[in-house]
């Protein structure tokens, strides 16, 4: 047992001493987290501006109570944005469709407030063939029917009052009507029966909204550089075989299994240490909320380290020389980070790509981290990806052991 930890300690000393190790294990991931964060942030900003389709309200008069009410009701849907245009500036509403984001144009007649009474309709221009147009159509129809009810009810109430206690002037009537309408709107909002709905996430696509670009770049670069960091560690393994120091170890009272376990453990410790530093950096430097579920994050780190450790040992026993280690590490890095969604969110990829990629170990790591930092879920949300990672780790270790035993001959 003591020999095992002697080998582990020696491996750690060798790794820490290598100038390349510090570069690949810590400096590069932090640099790339920043770079990718800045790149993703730009894209995220663009998305934020154009993410919701716009309903153009073309009006003859601005800032009337009914217009404000309409605007807030449309915005409350959460599906649409509103831009208001003066009718004098846009005589032809169709011009507005040339702006890509505008999916509906609602032209309100002049003095719309009173036109409701006279039943002069507002005109809605919309592309009914598009899903966004359909959304706009149904949303505005719904709002109008709600407003119509409120208007009719309020007007009926006002007329009833006017018959009993007539208002002295139209202005007085108008002022009282606006008060009644406001009260009616308020009552509409304070519903007697409310239904609360809580979403449960059954697939990775649910409730996935990245608030900060670092929510993607920090775990992404962590995955990428943890895998590429294998290079330095697996090279120690290969060097031991090339320089015959491993053979020499076998001439002492040290068994093959002790050597294999020791190298696996040293890889595990180094990877865990690297990840903890990167997670803490991500939390405190880039504002990624890793520590809202520290135990869950630690579990993902451990599972990830076990899988990468297994892959490192497999490389160590398979590669014939240092060049092959570099090659294998690069292949593993590009394969698992691309498929794992480390560079871009898998949720934005095609169905086929997503269906394949979501089962890869890299994707499990990303899912584990992002269930906490993006989807804001609890400890139990990482259990499935962690379980998958353990399974991958076991597969890689079994392959490594079989090859190592075969090399005995």
């Amino acid at each position: 047992m003591r020999r095992l930890f002697d080998i582990v300690w020696k491996d750690i000393c060798q790794t820490v001493r290598s100038p390349m190790a510090a570069l690949f294990l810590l400096v590069m991931p932090l640099l790339f987290t920043t770079f990718f964060g800045l790149i993703f942030q730009g894209a995220a900003d663009e998305d934020a501006v154009s993410e919701k389709p716009v309903v153009a309200l073309v009006v003859g008069e601005e800032e009337t109570p009914i217009l404000n009410e309409l605007r807030s009701l449309i915005l409350e849907t959460g599906e649409l944005n509103v831009e208001v245009f003066a009718a004098s500036d846009y005589p032809d509403p169709c011009v507005l469709f040339e702006e890509q984001s505008v999916i509906a144009v609602l032209v309100l007649p002049e003095n719309f407030y009173f036109s409701l009474q006279e039943q002069i309709p507002a005109t809605l221009y919309v592309d009914e063939t598009s899903s966004e147009g359909q959304t706009a159509l149904y949303t505005i129809q719904h709002i109008f029917s709600q407003e119509q009810i409120l208007y009719s009810t309020s007007m009926a109430a006002m007329q009833a009052v006017d018959e009993q206690l007539p208002y002295s002037s139209d202005q007085e009537f108008q002022a009282a009507f606006e008060q009644v309408l406001a009260k009616a709107n308020q009552s509409w909002d304070e519903k007697a029966i409310t239904v609360s709905m809580e979403r449960t996430v059954s697939s990775a696509t649910d409730d996935f909204h990245i608030e900060s670009a670092y929510d993607q770049s920090s775990p992404g670069m962590l995955v990428q550089f943890t895998i590429s960091g294998l290079m330095g560690i697996a090279i120690i393994f290969v060097q031991e075989r090339r320089t015959k120091t491993m053979q020499r170890m076998l001439t002492t009272a040290t068994s093959r299994s002790t050597i294999l376990i020791a190298h696996s453990l040293s890889m595990f410790f180094i990877i865990v240490a690297q990840q903890i530093i990167l997670v803490l950096s991500g939390h405190f430097l880039f504002g990624v909320d890793y520590l809202r579920e520290p135990l869950a994050i630690l579990l993902v780190i451990v599972a990830f380290a076990l899988w990468v450790g297994g892959m490192g040992v497999l490389m160590g026993v398979t590669a014939k020389n240092e060049d092959q280690v570099v090659l294998f590490s690069l292949i593993a890095m590009f394969l698992f980070t691309a498929l794992g969604g480390a560079w871009f969110t898998l949720e934005g990829t095609s169905e086929t790509f997503y269906a394949i990629a979501r089962h890869t170990p890299g994707a499990q790591v990303m899912r584990g981290f992002q269930n906490i930092i993006v989807r804001k879920q609890g400890f139990s949300s990482v259990l499935e990806p962690v379980g998958m990672l353990f399974l991958y780790a076991i597969l890689f270790y079994i392959a490594a052991i079989l090859i190592f035993k075969k090399n005995k001959e």
Binding site: R2, R3, D6, I7, K10, C13, Q14, R17, S18, T243, K244, T245, Q247, R248, M249, L250, T251, T252, A253, T254, S255, K408, E409
Partner: protein, 312 residues
Amino acid sequence: MENAIEAKGLKKFYKDVKAVNGVDFTIQTGEIFSLLGPNGAGKTTIINLLTGLFPPNAGDAFIFGNSIKKEPLKAKALMGVVPQEIALYEDLSARENLVFWGKLYGLRGKPLQARVDEVLELIGLRDRQRQRVSKYSGGMKRRVNIGIAMLHLPKLVVMDEPTVGIDPQSRRHIMDNVLALNKQGMTVLYTTHYMEEAQELSDHIAIMDQGKIVASGTHAELVKLVGEQDRVELTLSQDGDKVLKEWKKVKGVSKVDQDGERITLLATDSNAVLPDLFRIANQFNARISSIAIHEPNLETVFLHLTGKALRD
């Protein structure tokens, strides 16, 4: 006295190659035993079998009574091995290497540090102990390579061609170390293809060729095998097939072997046969451009037993 090593019917095959083909030998405790043979004779394979790097296809060997097949860890604990390659961690210093290997040999704490100091003194690297091994010369690396095997004061030191590719000064240093270890009571198994090393160091020598031990004994016993014949090396200036044919008929010449221009003869008395050799060469208008006479040695023995020179 207890045997340090007892090998019985050791065999190791790689596909069609019989690397070790039924080897038996015994090494007494406290002696220096050399395995002498050309490259590819099977010396390193025997070392690898004895040190448990891979199992034999047949046979067994006992290290101080411990079977390498049944009790490999016990057997290994009694050995210090100096591999043919320089098996060191180049990014660690000499001291760090010695400390690491000392731990693998089971040493700990103060005894380990004290023993590391002793070994650094012995290999002459105390002053440069903190320097990374990658900065050392080949000879210095060899010395650290040997030092590691001495750390735990093993009962048996196994050295696989430890002087390959080093300068004469380091070679001398290593050979002195081997003798010093033996004086401390360690048994030494030494493999080499340098006849002089085997001759100078060994109490017993086993000559190997093509996976087999072809002769074994003390230097004197082995020399007797060739009947204490002289070895005469000549160079002929032209193709001398006819000359060689006639030389073989000369009384007192027991064997004639040709390797390119170089011709080696075994003769009971070189002085007696030389006149005849010159006369025959003259007859065929062949010119002897060089001649060297060697008293019987292991090279002669090897030539006698295998029909080829040791350095081949």
